[in-house]
C-alpha cells in the first residue's frame, strides 16, 4: 500500500511500527512524550504506548544515552532522541567509549542495540548549535553504524531497520527535509539500510550525496542535463559502513566523482570516499575526486548560511572543474 506522507510523518509511522512489533522497544528523550518532541516526530505515541515506553527524560544527554546503554544491557531496545545535532556532545563519551565498544570489550558477549536519533544539518535559519553535521566525528568510531534517509520511504523503513539491528545505530534525520513529501510503500521494504542507492542513473559523472543534499544533487543533475551532461546520483544512505561497491561501480562507468555534504570538507566523509575510490578505480578516473562541503569554520550565522551550504551552483561549478580536467 502506498501513502503520501512527509519525511517526518514517515519516521513517526516507522517508530509506531517498532513500538507495536517489539515489546522490548521504547523511546526516550527530552520533550518527546507529551510535547511529541520539538519536531513532533514522536507526536501521539505516548498516548498509544504509555509513559513507560515513551519516556520524557530529565535534561541530560549523557544520562539519556548512558541509561539507554543500561536498558540495552537488560535486554531492552531503546530508541533515544537527541534534540539537536549540536547538543549531542555531552553524550559523546557515552556513545564513543561505552556504546560503541561494549560488544568488542565483552568479546562479543554483550550487545547494546541502541538507536540514537539526531536531527541534523542546516538551512533552517536557526541560531548556533542547531544546524550542525557531526557525522564524521561518529563515523571515525568503530562499533557504531550511521545511517541517514533522504526521503519518506527510506525514513519509514530505515528507522525500523535501525531498530532491529543488533549494533548501535546513529540515525541522522535531515531536519530541513522533515516536511518533504513522498510516496511510502508500507508493504515493500526499502533497500538494506547499509547500502547506497543509485537514485538517478547517468553516464558522464557521479555525484554522491546523502540526507538533506540528495534533492539538491538531483536538481543539479537536472540542470547539468541542459549542458548535455548525464549525471548519476547516488544516495549514500549509510555513512558507516559506506557502500563503496556501489560508488566504485558507478565511477567505473562515469569516470568522474563529486562528493557533497554539509559537514566541513576537511576531515569529512568526502575525503574517505575520495581516497577509497582513488584506490579502487584509479584507472577509471578522468579527473580527481572533488568535494563540495562546508568550510573549516563553526557553522555560520544563519543570515549567511546559504553561502556556506553546498547548493546547485556549487555542484555545477564542481562538475565544470571535473569536466575541464
Amino acid at each position: 500500500m502506498t501513502t503520501t506522507m512527509t519525511l517526518a510523518k514517515a519516521i513517526t509511522s516507522g517508530l509506531d511500527k517498532v513500538l507495536e512489533s517489539d515489546g522490548k522497544s521504547l523511546l526516550m528523550g527530552e520533550d518527546i512524550g507529551r510535547l511529541g518532541g520539538v519536531y513532533r516526530i514522536t507526536d501521539g505515541l505516548i498516548d498509544k504506548y504509555g509513559e513507560h515506553r515513551v519516556i520524557d527524560s530529565p535534561l541530560g544527554e549523557a544520562g539519556i544515552v548512558g541509561t539507554a546503554v543500561g536498558m540495552a544491557l537488560r535486554g531492552f531496545s531503546p530508541l533515544v532522541e537527541i534534540q539537536f545535532d549540536g547538543f549531542v556532545f555531552p553524550a559523546f563519551s557515552q556513545i564513543t567509549t561505552q556504546l560503541a565498544k561494549m560488544h568488542a570489550r565483552s568479546e562479543g558477549r554483550l550487545t547494546t542495540p541502541v538507536v540514537i536519533r539526531i536531527p541534523y544539518g542546516g538551512g533552517i535559519g536557526s541560531i548556533e548549535h542547531h544546524s550542525e553535521s557531526p557525522e564524521a566525528l561518529f563515523a571515525h568510531t568503530a562499533g557504531l553504524r550511521i545511517i541517514t534517509p533522504s526521503n519518506a520511504h527510506d525514513a519509514y523503513w530505515m528507522i525500523q531497520q535501525a531498530a532491529s539491528c543488533q549494533d548501535p545505530v546513529i540515525f541522522f534525520e535531515p531536519k530541513r527535509r522533515y516536511w518533504l513529501k513522498g510516496e511510502v510503500d508500507t508493504e515493500t521494504p526499502a533497500l538494506d539500510a547499509f547500502k547506497a542507492q543509485v537514485v538517478r542513473p547517468g553516464t558522464d559523472a557521479t555525484i554522491v550525496a546523502y540526507g538533506p543534499l540528495v534533492p539538491i544533487a538531483l536538481a543539479a543533475a537536472d540542470a547539468a542535463l541542459e549542458d548535455g551532461r548525464s549525471i548519476e546520483v547516488i544516495d549514500l544512505r549509510s555513512l558507516s559502513p559506506i557502500d563503496f561497491d556501489t560508488i566504485t561501480e558507478s565511477v567505473q562507468k562515469t569516470g568522474r566523482l563529486i562528493v557533497t555534504h554539509e559537514a566541513p570538507t576537511f576531515g569529512g566523509l568526502g575525503g574517505e570516499i575520495a581516497a577509497r575510490i582513488t584506490e579502487r578505480a584509479f584507472l577509471s578516473l578522468e579527473a580527481p575526486v572533488l568535494r563540495v562541503g562546508g568550510f573549516h569554520m563553526p557553522y555560520p550565522i544563519s543570515k549567511v548560511e546559504s553561502q556556506y551550504l553546498p547548493d546547485i551552483d556549487k555542484l555545477l561549478e564542481a562538475l565544470d572543474r571535473s569536466f575541464a580536467y
Binding site: G66, M71, Q98, R105, Q166
Partner: protein
C-alpha cells in the same frame, strides 16, 4: 569552609565493629545482622584475606612485567566484601575497576579477572554469568548504565506490589569513588534514578584520594550529604567495618528493591596502597597520614574481634594463609598460561552483525600476516 559549617554538616558514621575490634549494637542496623553467625564472620575474614592475597599477587605480577597495569585495593576489603555479600545473585553490579573483593563475592574467577590486566581481553569475564559487569576505565561511565539497568528492572516489575518487589525484585549496585563523584555522569545518573524511582544503590568508596588529589578538592561537604539534593536517603558507614557495611547495604538494597527508589551509601575508607602500579603516593601524601589509617585496617579489626571472642585459633590463620598462597599460585599459573588471541579475533568482535569494512580489512590483515608465514617457511 568554616569550621562551624563543617561541624554542622558532619553526618553520623555507622559503625558496628570499632577499630579496636569491639562490637557495638546499633538500633537500626542490628536487625540486618541477625543471621550473621560465627561461620559467616570467619567467612568474611576469609573473603578479605583471600582478596588481599590476590591483590598482592597481582601487584607482584605487574612488577614482574606480567600485567600491563594493576589497581590495588588494599584497605578497601571490608567495604567490598560487606557490600558484595549483601547482594542477591539476581542483583546486577556495576563496578569501577577496583572491585576485586566484590568480584570474589560474585564468584568471578580471580584468574579470569587478570585477562583484562594481562592485555589479552577488553573485558575478561562473562558479565551475564555472575551479574557482575565488566570493569569500566572511563570514570563514572558505568553510573548512568546502572540507572538505566534499574529503570529496565522497573519496567519488568511494573504492577508488582511492594511485598512482591521486596521478595522477588532485583536491584542494581553502582560502585564509584570519591574522584568520580565529581563526574557529570554521576550527577545525571542520580537524577535519572531518583526521578524514575529506579532500584539503585549507589555505593561510594571514599578512599580519600583520587590518584594524587585529596577528597576536599572533590567536595566541600561530606559526599553523603549530596543524597538529600537528589531526594534519596544517604547513609555514611565506616567502610573498614565489614559488619556495618553489610548491614547498611542490606538495608539500602531492601529500600531500593521494594520500589522506594535509590540510596546513596558513602563508605569511608582509605586506599592503603597506590592508586595503580603506575602511581607513587610518596609524591603527594604524608606517611603520617598513612600511619594514622594503618591501625584502622579492616582485616586487623575483624581479626581482633575473632580472636578476642575465641572464634578462631592460630590454626585457622595458618590454614587460611596456606589456602591463600595456593590460590595465588594458581592465579599466577593461570595468568601465565592464558593464550593470546590473534588480532583476527578482534575484528570479529567490533560488530554483532556482518560489516563490509571489517571483512575487507580482516581479509587484508590475514593475507598480509600469511605473507610472513610464507617467508618464514622459505627460510627453512
Amino acid at each position: 569552609m568554616t569550621r562551624a559549617a563543617t561541624e554542622a554538616t558532619e553526618p553520623d558514621l555507622i559503625q558496628i565493629l570499632t577499630p579496636d575490634g569491639q562490637r557495638q549494637s546499633h538500633g537500626t542496623y542490628d536487625a540486618y545482622l541477625g543471621d550473621v553467625d560465627d561461620d559467616m564472620l570467619r567467612g568474611f575474614y576469609r573473603d578479605m584475606a583471600l582478596t588481599r592475597r590476590f591483590d598482592q599477587e597481582a601487584t607482584a605480577l605487574q612488577r614482574q612485567g606480567q600485567l600491563c597495569l594493576w589497581v590495588p585495593l588494599r584497605g578497601q576489603e571490608a567495604a567490598q566484601i560487606g557490600s558484595g555479600r549483601a547482594t542477591r545473585r539476581s542483583d546486577y553490579i556495576f563496578p569501577t575497576y577496583r572491585e576485586h573483593g566484590v568480584a570474589l563475592t560474585r564468584d568471578v574467577s580471580f584468574s579470569e579477572m587478570l585477562r583484562l590486566f594481562r592485555g589479552i581481553s577488553g573485558g575478561g569475564w562473562d558479565p551475564r554469568e555472575n551479574n557482575f559487569h565488566m570493569y569500566t576505565m572511563v570514570l563514572a561511565a558505568q553510573m548512568p548504565h546502572a540507572a538505566g539497568y534499574a529503570m529496565a528492572l522497573n519496567m519488568e516489575q511494573r504492577g508488582w506490589d511492594e511485598a512482591r518487589r521486596a521478595k522477588e525484585g532485583n536491584a542494581v549496585v553502582a560502585y564509584f569513588g570519591d574522584g568520580s563523584s565529581t563526574e557529570g555522569e554521576t550527577h545525571e545518573s542520580m537524577v535519572f534514578a531518583s526521578s524514575f524511582n529506579a532500584p539503585v544503590v549507589y555505593f561510594c568508596q571514599n578512599n580519600q584520594w583520587a590518584i594524587s588529589v585529596p577528597f576536599e578538592v572533590q567536595s566541600k561537604v561530606p559526599l553523603v550529604n549530596r543524597a538529600a539534593g537528589y531526594g534519596m536517603p544517604g547513609v555514611r558507614v565506616d567502610g573498614n567495618d565489614v559488619l556495618a557495611v553489610l548491614a547498611v547495604t542490606r538495608w539500602a538494597l531492601e529500600h531500593a528493591r521494594s520500589g522506594k527508589g535509590p540510596v546513596l551509601i558513602e563508605a569511608v575508607t582509605y586506599r592503603l596502597g597506590a592508586h595503580t602500579t603506575a602511581d607513587d603516593p610518596t609524591k603527594y601524601r604524608m606517611s603520617e597520614e598513612e600511619a594514622q589509617w594503618a591501625p584502622k585496617d579492616p582485616l586487623i579489626r575483624l581479626e581482633t574481634y575473632l580472636r578476642e571472642n575465641n572464634l578462631v585459633d592460630d590454626a585457622y590463620f595458618e590454614q587460611l594463609a596456606a589456602d591463600a598462597d595456593a590460590m595465588a599460585a594458581k592465579v599466577r599459573e593461570d595468568a601465565m598460561a592464558f593464550p593470546v588471541p590473534p588480532l583476527a579475533k578482534s575484528f570479529e568482535q567490533v560488530y554483532a552483525e556482518a560489516h563490509p569494512l571489517i571483512q575487507e580489512e580482516l581479509a587484508w590483515h590475514l593475507e598480509y600476516e600469511a605473507g610472513f608465514a610464507d617467508a618464514a617457511e622459505g627460510e627453512h
